[in-house]
Symmetry: C2
Subunit: 460 residues, 2 copies
């Protein structure tokens, strides 16, 4: 990381928003092959913003930029880049530029960078690292993907638990190879097991004789190296951790995770949840048509099956519809309302499970509430729908049938909306992924069956 | 905050998960009115976990817990508590317990705590604060809600930009009233305008003569005090900030925001997006039936309108359906597939807008891709659907009609799924809130119209 001070060129705007105006000069510099102009545009930017620019360029311009920017290409740009583009960009980099770029990264960033790359590219990057860093990275790669072991960095500051403030300060002042970023001193016992951690701020504000263990944070907790990264992010958010020591099976310190990495994971998990709820697999706006289609079709195929099931239900009532065609006009209303109400319940339930606000300790209370909400919603909406229908078609019979079917379907929608995610979670299936299909199948089938069935009994 | 070291009782499990087993002893202590037993259960827990327990209890037990726990009730429990319960819990607290609880909170936490309370409760808390803290809190409350001014804390460490490492260390060592949590020293010019910031770690690892300005972080950027909190969270995530100085209109330093607060906002914004996409307003699992119904009914009413519109389309083809009842059986398939494909596109677009991956600089590229994906999905799914339909009903005509209608609807679904959120964003409407209604209305109307219209022309 450079040591010079480079305040952002537009600090007052509090952010850099990419639009066509910002992109145009970069494209012009690329077309002109003007290296100095490109550097003048990119050098003042944060690596995250350069990564944004790369993501917004077409493939050829992307390669041009990488080549023209050359040795000035910061390793952090690679870290910030969307995963789907990293391979392309790295392939476009000259070997010396790549080596230069990755050498300044911290070990956790290198791990994040190379874990999804193909073997030859992994090797190229590992070869560029200094021996010590290479060992650290290779060690991290031995832990399973999406665990704390992959997230942690090995650069940290450790002190024996019996030290006092003065000893800690003298130790740090005597070392000029401390990590670039650290906010805590981790206290360990003689077997390297963490027993607490102290913020640098607390060290600075206490007398030299104060024992470090007296200053340890209340929020101190360790993270098992094999813990799932989603749990890690949850803990950071829940307990407001800034950094946390990572321990192996024997409780010995092996690394440290900092909040910025946890924040990135939290963001990814949210993305995953929101996309899964919509039946869109992981992927990015940058993927091509083929990759996108391949991700979306499976869910549409499943939906084709459930729609066919709904059609099968309708088919049982062909005679009823033939006798009273208006039923075909009205039946999608009941199904559509059920689908929407079910989606409302299921989203609240899926979100509650993700934030752990919905647990076995309050599941029944939430189920009871949803069921009641379903009935109340049904009553509230059935009255105007029933009356309107009766008026328009001049039949209180048909108004009563659609009102009753709506109440039944909204009740079933609310109940299945909360119970299906709970059941899926219980059986270890991600509720965000699968709940939607089940719930809308239920509301379609029940909606058509209740409406047409009641009509067959009451009206014919 | 207590100064003693209280490691979590179950550090190896890396988290505290609330279930019925964990709740039972608490309920038992409450029923027995056993204060010491309750304290023994709650004292070792993190305030966030005590808040979880409160959220899982019924209303009466909640009040019992607050009264029985008395003066031991930590102010941070209030901060961690779901907003919908804070008023109840504060009302149940004895005045001296409340005063004791809020006195140790930092100014930003007090602001977060009281901004949604009613006047008398606000007053009670403000009265409990020391004069200096009260002024800080009241100052923050003068900024609009959901801005940086409400998020920032006023406790910070500032140094003149010309200082060197030695001066900064001596300054900090001479002051024992430094903030509880701080990670950076903010550099300011003579007019109190921030010009950089230095991590404590860098200060510790450099010689006394090094100028602080040489150690300033590359990522340095200031946040305008009126900036929207959503933008603040985006900046922290995008630029990996740990803390950032907040400035007024004259660029003068007024406070500092730390990453843990930004992470909480990021989490809230995600929650808002996911709930809005499902047509569920803000709210919590803890709300009652009435509040929940009031939040969900408006969206269902809107959906009733759009479903009526779809019914109106079908009504135009009553004669067609009467002549060929099987059309009523098949028509929901086309509409349902369109609804799902539209939801896929719109979720990707809404998410892309939230993460700023979708901007004016690449909107046309994304629109073209979605349109192509729509056509390809349509072709892929229309073939099996058309063949199956033709086989089952013994008519290639009907198979052809449903296949053609599906292709049309999936194309329209993909296009409207991405263009409607873009248009809403352009007109300043939150795309997460409103896109769903518009897109499913389009896919319903187009789905029924294409299928029944084609059938009327081709089959009759």
């Amino acid at each position: 990381m450079a040591e010079d001070q480079t305040p952002d060129s537009t600090p007052d705007e509090g952010g850099f928003e990419l639009d066509r105006e910002r992109l145009r000069p970069v494209q012009a510099a690329l077309e002109a092959g003007d290296g100095p102009a490109l550097a003048a545009l990119l050098d003042p930017l944060h690596p995250a913003d350069v990564a944004d620019i790369l993501e917004h360029l077409d493939r050829r311009s992307r390669v041009d930029l990488v080549r023209l920017y050359g040795l000035a290409f910061d390793g952090e740009i690679l870290s910030e880049l969307d995963e789907s583009l990293r391979e392309d960009v790295i392939a476009a980099m000259a070997p010396d530029a790549l080596a230069e770029a990755v050498r300044d990264l911290e070990s956790d960033d290198v791990v994040d960078l190379i874990e999804d790359l193909e073997e030859p590219q992994q090797e190229a990057i590992l070869d560029a690292l200094e021996a010590g860093d290479r060992v650290a990275v290779e060690k991290s790669l031995t832990y399973p993907e999406e665990t704390a072991g992959r997230l942690m960095q090995r650069e940290m500051v450790v002190a024996p638990e019996h030290w006092n403030v003065g000893q800690a300060i003298d130790f740090m002042r005597a070392h000029d190879d401390l990590p670039e970023q650290f906010y805590h001193v981790i206290l360990v016992d003689p077997r390297m097991r963490p027993t607490g951690y102290v913020t640098l701020g607390r060290i600075m504000s206490h007398p030299r004789a104060t024992r470090l263990s007296e200053l340890s944070e209340d929020s101190f907790r360790t993270i098992p190296v094999l813990q799932d990264e989603e749990e890690v992010a949850y803990d950071f958010n829940h307990y407001h951790l800034i950094s946390a020591p990572v321990v192996d099976e024997d409780d010995r310190l092996v690394g440290v995770i900092t909040i910025d990495d946890a924040m990135a994971i939290l963001d990814e998990e949210h993305e995953e949840d929101i996309l899964r709820l919509a039946g869109v697999g992981e992927g990015s706006l940058l993927d091509g048509v083929f990759a996108t289609t391949m991700r979306r079709v499976p869910w549409l195929v499943v939906n084709l099956g459930t729609a066919a099931l709904a059609a099968l239900v309708i088919a049982q009532f062909e005679d009823t519809i033939a006798a009273l065609v208006v039923l075909a006009v009205l039946m999608p209303i009941v199904a559509s309302m059920g689908g929407n109400a079910g989606t409302q319940s299921l989203t609240v339930a899926v979100r509650g499970l993700a934030t752990r606000d919905l647990t076995s300790a309050n599941a029944w209370r939430v189920i009871r509430r949803e069921a009641l909400v379903g009935v109340v919603n049904g009553l509230v909406l059935a009255v105007p729908l029933g009356l309107m229908t009766a008026l328009i078609f001049g039949s209180f019979g048909i108004g009563g049938v659609i009102a009753a079917a709506l109440i039944i379907n909204l009740f079933v929608a609310a109940l299945s909306g909360v119970m299906i995610p709970l059941l899926l979670e219980k059986f270890g299936v991600d509720p965000a992924l699968a709940s939607g299909v089940f719930v809308t199948t239920v509301t379609d089938v029940v909606g058509f069956f209740a409406f047409l069935g009641l009509a067959a009994v009451v009206l014919l």
